[in-house]
């Protein structure tokens, strides 16, 4: 009898990777992808799989590529914006090609539940010229991931599995298939294969473009790119992807009276879309993510005599996550009436820093320290990505930027170079290890007149207290190694009883005409609770 397991979408991909015989799993935490690596991490020792949180997604991707180089299977997972960090390795790994199956699972976050943007990773898969698979449910997440490893080895390309928040973080039961053993060590022997000198790269890039016909042919045959034409269907059709397919079916109670083409394996098999277009006068393109298919269908010259509806003409919202209600309203018109709220004023409840959080005290300290410099206008910090981004909200009102991992230091330096004073920034220990070090090195070589606060709480707090690579004395040593003058590397304990002492340190370092790093070191309360329980 087949095994049945209760899995998040993330877990389903992870378990499929284990069953596909991976030798290594690589990742940096990021919602909604974190649980994928955690699932493997918890089981790695027993299974003899290498699993260790990487410093960032680019490192993780390169580690996975090295494992693949050795003929062994690897999975690398990240959130959508993490793929930007890994993009150099990602795009070039399509040119080198792979040896052991390499699956990159990217969890997109339509609606930005926990992200800075809602970029669609399908666009990056197309840019890199690699296949992309998009499961609609947990079972498909498992099945497609198993298939992705085979496809990767058959085409010798990395293969993307694209999840979205609603699948990554949704649980259902999944039927699994027998596990495969890991593959033997069998490193590449042709030195040209992974060496992208221009002379080699031209050959390899041509080879990559020549693979595209095969990839499209495979997508045309894919069991996940199905065209369903119900008997008696009219002249309205639906083109959809991933979990949007579920919302389309839900809108009609499971029985869609129109032809439906779902595209869940790319490169997009254009003939399948033409076949659908032939049968209809009006086409609804219902996509979770960017209007990738819709732009393709509209083209430069929209198909003659066809009405195309979707995100680009207001048929569906241009931005944001789809819901069953939004899709039903577009396709069916009326949607069921819910219950009216019975309270007149319903206040929002945004996330907040936890009671007892060290960041709260650090922000209070900084706010006090900058007061003498405020001439009618608040002085805020360039900040970064982590719990401390919540310093944007009252009562902190402490930050004025959050752009990408590590941007706090480099943006602050850019402001300092052109005269901003005081120039202040805040970054967490793990974000610093991820992408802060290079910015600090650049700033230290110029002795930029700024103060960098590294908020060392000992863990990757926002995503659930994963291991950090740079904390405590290691972090101090890194900062010194990056060339910051030791007399301006200060470690403080941001507790209320040391407020005055700490305030004096902050004022000194703001007055110092050059680079200062103040490490506010106090453990995360969530982390302490978890390690003690």
């Amino acid at each position: 009898m087949a095994d049945r397991e209760l899995l998040l979408g993330d877990d389903a991909v992870a378990l499929a990777a284990i069953h596909a015989g991976i030798s290594g799993a690589y990742a940096y935490p990021g919602t909604p992808a974190t649980e994928l690596f955690e699932f493997i991490h918890e089981r790695a020792d027993k299974l003899g799989i290498h699993a260790f949180w990487s410093a960032n997604e680019k490192v993780a991707y390169e580690e996975a590529l090295g494992t693949s180089f050795c003929g062994r299977r690897a999975i690398v997972s990240m959130k959508h914006v993490g793929l930007n960090v890994a993009a150099d390795a990602f795009v070039n790994s399509a040119v080198t090609g792979v040896r052991g199956g390499l699956v990159v699972c990217v969890a997109d976050d339509p609606g930005m539940h926990s992200s800075q943007n809602e970029q669609d990773s399908r666009a990056l898969a197309k840019f890199a010229l690699i296949p992309c698979l998009e499961p609609a449910n947990q079972q498909e997440a498992y099945d497609m991931t198993r298939y992705a490893f085979d496809l990767s080895e058959a085409t010798r390309l990395p293969v993307m599995v694209r999840l979205v928040t609603r699948l990554a973080h949704s649980r259902a039961d999944v039927v699994t298939a027998p596990a495969l053993p890991q593959k033997p060590l069998d490193p590449a022997t042709d030195p040209m294969e992974f060496t992208l000198l221009p002379a080699n790269a031209r050959v390899l890039y041509r080879r990559l473009t020549e693979k595209q016909l095969d990839l499209e042919a495979r997508a045309a045959q894919s069991p996940w790119n199905t065209l369903d034409v119900p008997p008696g269907a009219g002249r309205v059709g639906i083109l959809t992807n991933g979990i949007a397919y579920n919302y389309v079916r839900e809108a009609f109670g499971g029985q869609v009276p129109h032809p439906v083409l779902r595209i869940c394996q790319s490169p997009v098999p254009l003939d399948r879309i033409r076949a659908l277009l032939d049968q209809v006068d009006e086409l609804w393109v219902v996509e979770e993510g960017y209007p990738v298919l819709e732009e393709l269908v509209r083209g430069v010259v929209p198909p003659a005599g066809k009405v195309i509806r979707g995100r680009l003409d207001g048929g569906l919202p241009r931005t944001g996550e789809l819901t069953p209600g939004i899709v039903a309203k577009a396709l069916v018109g009326a949607t069921p009436q819910g219950t009216a709220q019975t309270l007149e004023h319903l206040p929002g409840r945004p996330p907040t820093l936890c009671p007892g959080c060290s960041h709260t005290d650090t922000y209070a300290l900084i706010k006090e320290a900058v007061k003498p410099y405020e001439k009618g206008q608040r002085i805020r910090l360039f900040a970064d990505i982590g719990c401390y981004t919540l310093g944007f909200y009252e009562p902190h009102d402490a930050i004025h930027s959050c752009v990408d991992m590590g941007a706090s230091i480099s943006m602050c330096a850019g402001a300092a170079y052109v005269g901003q004073f005081p120039a202040l920034c805040a970054i967490g220990d793990s974000t610093f290890a991820h992408s802060g070090m290079t910015g600090l090195l650049t700033a230290s070589r110029q002795d930029a007149n700024m103060v960098v606060f590294i908020l060392d709480n000992g863990t990757v707090a926002m995503t659930g207290t994963q291991d950090t690579l740079a904390t405590g004395q290691d972090l101090v040593d890194i900062v010194l190694g990056l060339g910051v003058k030791s007399e301006h590397v200060r470690v403080i304990n941001p507790i209320k009883s040391k407020f005055d002492e700490n305030l004096a340190i902050l004022r000194e370092e703001i007055e110092h005409k050059g680079l200062s790093v103040i490490i506010a070191r106090r453990p995360c309360v969530q982390w302490v609770r978890r390690t003690n329980s």
Binding site: P32, L167, A172, I243, P324, G348, C354, E394
Partner: protein
């Protein structure tokens, strides 16, 4: 059979533990389920919710469509309001009465409770008191599962192995305490459900049940209570 539920509360109140209990109960019964939750930033003291769908037939969408939820199950009374657009006409609200105040503009307690009592089918329970009665004061979420049980396709016995699996390593007294809380919550929920079935308003049902000794609550008291003069 289908049962679409919105679980609601505030980060840290154990919403995902409720989801875990119900997911496993569904699987053990051979039912299908899908349960979508949100992790990450919102878990830091923010509004947290989960969509849970249980059915004996195929479940298509992970999200409950607006206006189709059969139940809102909330560990916090204000949070119910956020999800009412999901509740179908005739759907039931099962909510804790104890506010969780971590926002500066939290409305007046009485206002929040009155708003809930005005809903046609609301089961309002004092989860803190029920949890304390089992000597596991943090288990308010368990009290809520118990109170919701009369409206779910499960029995108390379904939860025994799941609670054992969840708390077994913390000791028998923790398992027993949580089961006690589930049982007591269930008794309050069943009595309130019986009162609502007899045409008693949500507000009156809450008044009638809230003064009772938790140890002696029995759904069989419904007729007698419903007949009480106001």
């Amino acid at each position: 059979m289908k049962c679409d539920i919105i679980l609601a509360g505030v980060g840290g109140q154990g919403i995902l533990t409720i989801a875990y209990l119900l997911d496993n109960a569904a699987v053990n019964r051979g039912l299908r389920f899908k349960q979508a939750e949100v992790h990450g930033m919102s878990q830091r003291g923010g509004a947290v919710y989960s969509h849970l769908r249980i059915s004996d037939a195929e479940i298509i969408s992970d999200l409950v469509p607006e206006g189709q939820a059969d139940m809102i199950l909330s560990v916090e009374p204000l949070e119910v309001q956020r999800y009412l657009p999901y509740l179908r006409p005739g759907g039931v609200v099962v909510s804790n009465v104890e506010p969780f105040k971590n926002i500066p503009d939290y409305p007046d307690d009485a206002l929040v409770l009155d708003a809930l009592a005005r809903l046609p089918r609301a089961v309002l329970v004092d989860a803190a008191a029920i949890a304390t009665s089992g000597k596991v004061p943090k288990a308010q979420n368990m009290a809520m599962v118990g109170a919701a049980l009369p409206f779910l396709p499960f029995t108390l016995a379904d939860f025994e192995p799941i609670v054992q699996g969840l708390f077994g390593r913390k000791g028998d007294h923790v398992v027993a305490g949580n089961m006690h809380v589930l049982r007591t919550g269930n008794a309050v929920g069943a009595l309130t459900a019986a009162l609502l079935d007899r045409g008693v308003t949500s507000q009156r049902a809450h008044q009638l049940t809230s003064g009772l000794d938790l140890a002696s609550i029995d759904p069989a008291m419904a007729d007698e209570l419903a007949a009480q003069p106001r």
